[in-house]
């Protein structure tokens, strides 16, 4: 299951031969160098050439794949020096360059590439963190690539290398298959076990100085050992090594290059004039999918040339992209045009790219933008299967016009997500949403309390909190009391309501008050999990009880007294024990709340009791008589 490019290992030859010069002098004497004493040309060693080429390969891989694509370095002289492991912390250029500093230039001594190649194949058998994390999936394919930069005398030596690689793989696989049953029988092996290598792609790059002759020839990819190993041999001059690896990285990671052409830039020396530059960028091959229709297979292998479309005032960023974005990295990080383009994008601008057409007419094809400090390319245009959606207004719920959109907006603001640290953040977010939506009518016409705005606001806002402080309970109680007072004055805050809900008649008002109290109870009851919430609920129930006996002036006084005297320990609160059998803390839904609410004592009393007067009323007093008479 793991792709070949999940693990790559570079083997760098650090033997004395690589200390020789590449014979490719770098000329420092350029025309611009006015007045300076010329620096004589210098040559890099083969070692320097191979290191810089390999490091550049890594830079591209790690810029484009911050995770999941691992590269290791093995420096080979008389022993194999491992510069890094598969650990994520060691998969970066800084770690690698520090390691290379310690290796230093080529020293005299024996040894050669063989040590490194064997070590590299052993490294391939070590599981990567991703592979360790799924030890139960035995069926995954452990595949990888070894890129060996060396210099052999002739094809026979290369053949020798291949044989050694083959033997090593056979031995490792034998060991791994033997070790595997043992490790599975134990619970979880803590020691890094050896994995079977299912496939290994070995690229041997034979490096020579500029004018040296070599008897090694290019060999195309051939499979040996029953398709377990694929070997190819590439001969390269040291000076061309960087280009070679820059080209090889593309198929290895399914990448493609785009040349952004016609980027207007101020001249370095002369800021008043501007010239057009080209910058080559590297990204996933998928980014070019949209262009394939108009490409021949040969063109698909070349760098696609797209023209810079000078951005205008309002920019959409990458938002016009229809799907994926792919990471981008410049092919030549050190060039000034690249740096200018990168900075332009990192500063928050975006660029549209167009396909250059001869006949005129423009069509935007891609967009370049930075997000979160990384550069991305996205494809523009094209049809999507979700084009032309059905109108929401014709679907379910589409004709309802009084959704509480503003209030839901407020709820969204209260439930904004933030980058946190540590586990369980998602769970907390969902729990909070759950709390905030416990009692949440969808439409304006289905609620009164949420339409009363400032009158009820502190309560509706506070009650959704996980816990309430005593002060907050106090605030809520004051809200309830002010409602009570309002009701007693036969007022209703109608100004807050939408016009169609404002009733004039007193009968309607009574109903409205009933609904307000019922809704309030439903709201508070839905949150009655914490002690303070329960206290609030008791206050509310007291108020409601009063609401149903509105004519009884005396009871109102007692309610007010009861609810103001001791807010922290209301009557019957016990010590917050929830198991005292009262239905106050039993979670109930709104319907229960409505049905269970005390009703006005309008119903005539039980006939039996009326007959019994002060005595105990007996039930079914005729039952016995009926039985007797029937016999």
């Amino acid at each position: 299951m793991f792709p070949i490019n999940h693990k790559t290992i570079f083997v760098l030859d650090h033997t004395p031969y690589f200390g020789i010069s590449s014979d490719n002098p770098i000329d420092f004497d350029v025309p611009k160098n006015r007045g300076y004493l010329p620096v004589p040309p210098i040559c890099k060693s083969l070692w320097t050439c191979s290191v810089e080429a390999a490091v550049e390969y890594c830079r591209i891989v790690w810029d484009l794949f911050p995770e999941g694509k691992l590269v290791r370095f093995v420096v080979s002289d008389n022993t194999a020096h491992m510069l890094n492991t598969w650990a994520v912390a060691q998969q970066n250029l800084t770690h690698l360059l520090n390691g290379l500093c310690l290796v230093g230039p080529v020293r005299r001594g024996a040894g050669g590439d063989v040590e490194g190649l064997v070590a590299a194949i052993e490294a391939l058998a070590e599981p990567s963190p991703d592979q360790t994390s799924r030890p139960n999936e035995r069926h995954f394919q452990n595949r990888g690539r070894v890129i060996c930069i060396t210099s052999a005398r002739d094809n026979d030596s290369i053949k020798n290398l291949k044989d050694i690689a083959h033997n090593t793989i056979v031995q490792i696989n034998k060991k791994a298959t033997l070790a595997q049953p043992a490790s599975t029988s134990e619970s979880t092996s803590t020691t890094p076990q050896t994995l079977v290598i299912h496939y290994c792609h070995i690229v041997i790059i034979n490096v020579t100085p500029e004018n040296a002759e070599t008897r090694v020839t290019n060999q195309p990819l051939t499979e040996i050992a029953g398709g377990q190993i694929g070997v190819e041999v590439i001969v390269s001059r040291a000076s061309a090594l960087a280009n070679l690896l820059g080209r090889l990285v593309l198929p290895h990671y399914k990448l493609a290059t785009t040349t952004v052409t016609g980027i207007p830039m101020k001249e370095e020396q002369n800021a008043s004039s501007s010239a057009n530059y080209d910058v080559e960028i590297i990204h996933s091959l998928d980014a070019h999918a949209g262009l394939r229709a108009s490409q021949t297979p040969a063109e698909a292998l070349e760098s696609v040339v797209l023209r810079w479309w000078t951005p205008r005032g309002a920019e959409g960023g990458a938002s016009g992209c229809c799907g994926s974005l792919w990471r981008v990295t410049p092919a030549d990080v050190a060039s000034r045009p690249s740096a200018c383009l990168v900075n332009f994008l990192l500063n928050g601008r975006s660029v549209t790219l167009e396909v250059p057409r001869k006949g005129g007419g423009r069509s935007a094809s891609h967009v370049l933008a930075a997000q979160g400090g990384e550069l991305w390319i996205g494809a523009l245009g094209g049809r999507t299967p979700y084009d032309d959606p059905p109108a929401l207004s014709e679907g379910a719920g589409g004709r309802v016009t009084d959704y509480r959109i503003k209030e839901f907006g407020a709820l969204m603001q209260q439930n904004r997500l933030h980058p946190l640290r540590g586990a369980g953040a998602n769970g907390r977010a969902r729990a909070r949403l759950q709390r905030h939506t416990t009692y949440w009518p969808l439409t304006i016409s289905s609620t009164l309390i949420f339409n009363l705005g400032s009158v009820l606001d502190p309560l509706t806002r506070l009650v959704v909190q996980e816990t309430l402080t005593d002060e907050e309970v106090d605030t809520c109680r004051n809200v309830l009391l002010s409602l009570l007072a309002m009701e007693s004055r036969h007022e209703f805050p109608t100004a807050q309501l939408p016009s169609n809900m404002r009733g004039k008649s007193s009968g309607r008002r009574e109903e409205q008050w009933r609904q307000v109290w019922a809704e309030l109870e439903a709201l508070v009851r839905a949150h009655a999990a914490a002690p303070q919430h329960r206290a609030l609920l008791r206050v509310l129930l007291d108020c409601r009880a009063h609401n149903n006996h509105a004519s009884d002036g005396e009871s109102r006084a007692t309610v007010i007294r009861a609810t103001t005297d001791s807010p922290l320990s209301p009557v019957g609160a016990g010590n917050g024990g929830s198991s005292n059998g009262s239905d106050v803390w039993a979670p109930r839904n709104v319907l229960d709340a409505l049905l269970g609410a005390p009703r006005p004592a309008r119903r005539p009393d039980f006939a039996g009791r009326m007959a019994a007067g002060t005595r105990v009323a007996t039930l079914y007093s005729q039952l016995q008589q009926d039985v007797e008479t029937s016999h």
Partner: protein, 518 residues
């Protein structure tokens, strides 16, 4: 997924089908037409939004009806198709590739292709072999190919063609270019018998397996709505995670983000979220609480509408519509949990081109917590504590510098090395003002050179500085000469030149002071 019906119109399709029933005569072509009509009938009930194209082929291909949602245009076209010569599947597939890439290529939209042919591959054994190699497969877009051979299961030509069909189905799925995961495989649907009902059974089986509507529940805390996702999300298998992901039938909103914070999510697919009528049980007391209260019954305006509301789904409040409205008004997006370790976002999307018709769009992100790097780890998105502001804000910036970890690896191209050397020499000319710059630059250069084992460079620069020293004009401050000589020696000192721990520093003030007293 858009669908291409790839219909064989070769001469062999016009062969009459022997039947016991003499009242009707059928050819393979009319049976195929019946199959296509059945397919379109199924779609118009279950997937009205699907785009379908009709491509006919013999030795050449023709796009008879380009991608459309107007299935009737395909039905009427079926009646007037002209017959061609011989079956050439590879040409046909080439044509399909061209059509799909032109139409959907940019977005890597997955496409289903239904190949309807008559069970003879049009070539002999050798030709078949050659054709397998010539097949333009896998296509450069994600695709699923189904084959519906209009052939009696006992016919010998089918035995020969079967391996070819299997190869086509397998190869179509073999798309290695797509980094966004792979589709499930297509299949071959052989009818049990060569009759209209037999073929209709086969195509119905295909529809039921591959054109299912996708329903799920969108939940936001205690609020929920039943929704349809279109196009139906596909099971995703990711090579690098070696796991498959199938969308759960509940999508949970975990919270909200400002649209600017989200910017563009890296979506592997996008789906319309279409609200569906609530099941009767779902209109619980919470949703229509108000309508049950006496208040509304008393009012003349909407009291009578209550009964009607219940029967007309468009008048029953739906959470999905509310969410869409609120997201649009606030310019926000919702982050949803699609399954274990899998996230997506909901946005109100508005197409300017389509009469500003707006819809709720689900963007399915790549599975894994790192699918949107600028949001940080997605499993660590959470609510801010009440009254506190979180330490980090969006976007989470990455450490990437795009300079290649210093400049060490940039020297593969000579111009970069040249620029760095010139910078040192420029500073060397402007001593003593640029002393600090010179040494800073020298240390950077040294670090890069040491990691590359490029000792030649250090020696060369040492020599160059020494020569600068000798070429100083007579009126230059003596400090210049001292600093240059110091730097040149340090670069060439065999004991320390290649020691990374050793840092070059300018000569201290006491050295500077001494020459001044002369």
């Amino acid at each position: 997924m858009p669908t291409v019906i790839l219909l064989d119109v070769s001469l062999s399709m016009s062969r009459p089908v022997p039947t016991s029933d003499t009242t009707e005569t059928h050819t393979r072509h009319t049976i195929a037409t019946a199959a296509v009509n059945t397919f379109l009938d199924y779609l118009s009930v279950h997937a009205k939004l699907e785009y379908v194209a009709l491509v006919t082929f013999s030795s050449v291909y023709e796009v008879s009806v380009p991608f459309t949602r107007d299935f009737d245009s395909i039905r009427s076209k079926l009646l007037v198709l002209e017959e061609g010569d011989k079956t050439c599947i590879d040409t046909a597939l080439l044509g399909v590739n061209q059509l799909v890439l032109n139409e959907w290529g940019g977005c890597q939209t997955p496409v289903q292709i239904i190949l309807i042919t008559d069970g003879s591959s049009g070539v002999g054994a050798i030709g078949r072999n050659r054709m397998v190699h010539a097949l333009p497969l896998p296509p450069s877009y994600p695709a699923k190919i189904h084959v519906l051979p209009i052939v009696s299961p006992h016919e010998s030509s089918l035995q020969h063609a079967m391996p070819l069909y299997q190869k086509i189905v397998d190869l179509a799925n073999n798309t290695t270019t797509n980094s966004n995961g792979n589709l499930s495989r297509g299949s071959i649907y052989c009818p049990d018998q060569l009759t209209v009902p037999g073929v209709i059974t086969a195509i119905t089986r295909l529809c039921e397996q591959h054109y299912q509507e996708f329903w799920c529940t969108l939940k936001c805390g205690q609020l929920d709505a039943r929704v349809q996702l279109f196009p139906a999300p596909q099971t995703i298998s990711l090579e690098e995670l070696s796991a498959t992901y199938t969308l759960a039938n509940q999508i949970h909103v975990i919270g909200f983000l400002q649209q600017q914070e989200l910017t563009t999510p890296i979506a592997i697919s996008k789906h319309l979220v279409i609200p569906q009528p609530q099941a009767g049980a779902n209109t619980g007391p919470r949703e229509n609480y108000g309508s049950k209260t006496p208040t509304k019954e008393g009012s003349s305006t909407d009291g009578s509408a209550t009964e009607e509301d219940m029967s007309d789904p468009s008048k029953v409040p739906n959470f999905c519509v509310l969410l869409h409205g609120a997201l649009k008004v606030e310019g926000m997006a919702a982050v949803v949990l699609l399954g274990a370790d899998w996230w997506g976002t909901l946005t109100a999307s508005c197409e300017a081109s389509r009469g500003r018709r707006s819809c709720l769009l689900l963007s399915v992100m790549k599975p894994g917590a790192t699918a949107a790097p600028w949001l940080g780890a997605l499993d660590q998105l959470g609510p801010a504590e009440e009254g506190t502001t979180p330490a980090e804000t969006f976007p989470i910036r990455s450490w990437r510098s795009y300079s290649g970890g210093g400049s060490a690896c940039a020297w593969a191209r000579p111009h970069a090395l040249l620029a760095d050397v010139q910078k040192v020499l420029r500073h060397a000319r402007k001593l003593p003002d640029k002393t600090q710059h010179l040494f800073k630059e020298l240390n950077r250069l040294r670090r890069a050179a040491i990691s590359l084992g490029f000792s030649e460079l250090l020696t060369a620069i040492g020599n160059a500085l020494e020569r600068e020293c000798t070429a100083l004009p007579p009126n230059a401050p003596s400090e210049c000469a001292l600093q240059l000589a110091h730097a040149a020696n340090a670069l060439r000192d065999p004991r320390t030149a290649l020691d990374i721990k050793h840092v070059l520093t300018p000569l201290g003030p006491n050295y500077n002071v001494t020459p001044m007293t002369h």
